[in-house]
């Protein structure tokens, strides 16, 4: 197992029971790893399982099967007590800055809660730490005495971030942390997260429903469709050379800032028809074949494995065959070099 991998998930599956014995295949056999200090962007439309993966990584949801290791420890084998101790090393930031803060607790108590759970500090020490954290996320220390409803969405998100970094974790799942914010505020929050990352050496799993948002912050980007990881590549590579037709469609859907580029993009746009099929009954073969503009006959029957098409660039598409190494194996070999 590699030194540089903080998190490795192998063949992660989460099926939620639905009515009449049916199951929702929210996540269906996903394998990837997250390197120490990187930001892995995880992108896909709603219902593709990206949030479920984030929750499974923190064991807020118990996966149906598969393996997750955190810093070379088997996360799924931990008992209650061990898990509680490990929780201080991994945290979460939520999408909705309104429901993620307890409306009946003052900001100081919210940010101070991780400290009171994991560290025995005096009241004064805790107050000092909270003030420090507030300053760190760009808020005034005296905000500690206010209630969450007195703040704007962006400020609330900063409070949520302060809570998440209070214990100096190694890893943070950011579950669409800017999707609910104004565009101008989005950039501020992303910048704040980057500052904190370089300051504390944080590792992020940055979940988003659009590629545009993660472009700026991600080291690598993974694209999910209906519970499967369909493409995984370094950020620059995903944007310049998307391989999977779904990734191409997602890129085409994100607005271009330059009008000329926008026009060119419009001309070449890959459009998706219809909605994503339900994960209750995913299509056979490649799950994307029902909407894929490039689908061939084989796509109906054969489920494409995630393969390394070019070094570091993985895709699960029959049109892009490559070596049949498993991702875990390559990750390992690349570490040895």
């Amino acid at each position: 197992m590699g030194q540089s991998e903080l998190i490795e998930i192998r063949d992660l599956t989460k099926h939620f029971p639905a009515s009449r014995g049916a199951v929702v295949r929210a996540v269906d056999g996903v394998t990837f790893s997250i390197r120490r200090g990187e930001t892995l962007g995880l992108v896909g439309e709603s219902g593709c399982g990206k949030t479920t993966i984030g929750r499974c990584l923190l064991r807020l949801i118990e996966p149906t099967s598969g393996a997750i290791s955190f810093d070379n420890r088997d996360l799924l084998a931990l008992g209650r007590g061990e898990l509680r101790r490990l929780r201080r090393r991994m945290q979460i930031i939520f999408q909705d800055p309104y429901s993620s803060l307890n409306p009946r607790m003052k900001v100081g108590a919210i940010i101070g809660e991780p400290l009171s759970i994991h560290e025995s500090l005096t009241r004064q020490q805790r107050r000092d730490r909270v003030a420090e954290l507030l300053t760190l996320v760009g808020l005034a220390p005296d905000y500690a005495n206010r209630y969450p409803h007195e703040f704007s969405g962006g400020q609330r998100q900063r409070i949520g971030i302060a809570r998440a970094i209070a214990l100096k974790p190694d890893f943070i799942v950011a579950d669409e942390p800017v999707s609910a914010l104004d565009v101008s505020v989005q950039a501020q929050i992303v910048n704040l997260m980057q500052d904190l990352q370089s300051q504390f050496g944080l590792t992020y799993l940055f979940i988003s429903h659009g590629l545009a948002v993660v472009e700026h912050i991600s080291t690598r980007v993974g694209v999910m469709y209906l519970g499967k990881l369909v493409e995984l590549a370094p950020a620059a590579e995903i944007y310049s050379n998307p391989l999977h037709p779904y990734t191409q469609a997602l890129l085409a859907a994100s607005p271009a800032p330059d009008p000329d580029a926008a026009r060119a993009q419009k001309a070449a746009r890959v459009r998706l028809a219809g909605d994503a099929p339900t994960p209750l009954n995913p299509p056979s073969g490649c799950r994307f074949h029902t909407r894929c503009p490039a689908a061939i006959e084989a796509c109906r029957k054969e489920e494409p494995p995630l393969v390394e098409v070019s070094p570091g660039h993985w895709a699960a598409c029959l049109l892009h065959p490559a070596g049949v190494e498993s991702p875990a194996a390559t990750v390992r070999s690349s570490n040895n070099t």
């Binding site: 929750r55 923190l58 807020l60 898990l83 509680r84 101790r85 929780r87 201080r88 991994m90 945290q91 979460i92 939520f94 999408q95 909705d96 429901s99 993620s100 803060l101 307890n102 409306p103 009946r104 607790m105 809660e113 991780p114 759970i117 994991h118 209630y147 409803h149 949520g160 809570r163 214990l167």
Partner: protein, 274 residues
């Protein structure tokens, strides 16, 4: 708290003080019959006078003194029944809603329905009849019926609140179940319970009256507003004041509890604080 809430609180405080200081405030012993002129027609005989400002009841007892002493019973029944049943309801509702699974199936799927399917007053009557009429048994019977309403309410609230992100956040921080329930879920779930409790006070006072009427409440001659109201029914045409004063006392109490409930709800919600 808002103005009506303060008024309600004042009324309740006054009633509580009256209840506590009843022996000092009541001009007569509430159980003693006062000498009256039996030659007078009933309507005149029982009328309020200077020495008996609320009049006399059918047995010639001072109504003012009985209303004052009645506050003791009503307050005690209201407060204890609501406290006991709300507490049981809070604990069971919280456990049932938070843990779900077979625990929830047992409580919400089975126990709640069993209790809900009993005609509640009949159950109380049966219990008191079995245990014997006394204040303690009355309170017990009303609490045994009362907790289910609170439990259902709390369970529903907990089911809603436990899905909020801030609960997940606390879980991700490593908070223990007790902390999740007490610090995060219940403070955001008890608002309707407070309203329910204020209505429950009124309900308890009224149930006490019903049981007293059936001879299953506080045994006579101990005065209770409910029993007084029921005694007064037969004299409605000749001595309406017998109905007026205990009726007014019940109404004021119920109203005051409602005001306090509303006031508390607003006060507990930081969003409405200025």
């Amino acid at each position: 708290m808002n103005r009506l809430g303060i008024i309600g609180l004042i009324i309740i405080t006054v009633f509580f003080l009256v209840a506590l200081a009843a022996p000092m405030l009541a001009p007569y012993d509430p159980r003693t019959q006062l000498p009256t002129d039996n030659n007078l027609p009933t309507s005149t005989r029982l009328q309020p006078t200077r020495s008996n400002p609320f009049g006399l009841d059918d047995l010639g007892r001072d109504v003012l003194s009985r209303v004052i002493y009645g506050a003791r019973i009503s307050m005690r029944v209201g407060v204890t029944v609501v406290s006991i049943s709300a507490f049981i309801g809070l604990v069971i509702g919280a456990i049932s809603g938070f843990y779900g699974g077979w625990i929830d199936r047992f409580f919400a799927g089975f126990l709640f329905n069993v209790f809900m399917s009993f005609p509640s007053l009949l159950l109380a009557i049966a219990m008191v009849a079995f245990l014997g009429p006394s204040l303690g048994n009355l309170i017990l019977a009303l609490s045994v019926i009362g907790w289910v309403g609170y439990a259902r309410l709390v369970r529903g609230q907990v089911l809603k609140v436990r899905e909020f992100d801030f609960v997940t956040a606390a879980r991700a921080l490593g908070a223990a179940d007790l902390r999740l329930i007490v610090r995060h879920i219940l403070p955001n779930a008890i608002q309707p319970l407070i309203v329910q409790a204020s209505l429950g006070m009124a309900g308890a006072v009224l149930s006490e009256a019903s049981l007293s009427f059936l001879g299953l409440g506080v045994p006579p001659p101990t005065p209770s507003w409910g029993a007084m109201l029921n005694d007064a029914r037969s004299y409605l045409s000749v001595a309406p004041h017998l109905l007026l004063f205990p009726g007014l006392a019940v109404m004021l109490t119920v109203m005051a509890f409602n005001f306090v409930g509303d006031g508390l709800r607003e006060w507990l919600d930081p969003k409405q604080k200025r």
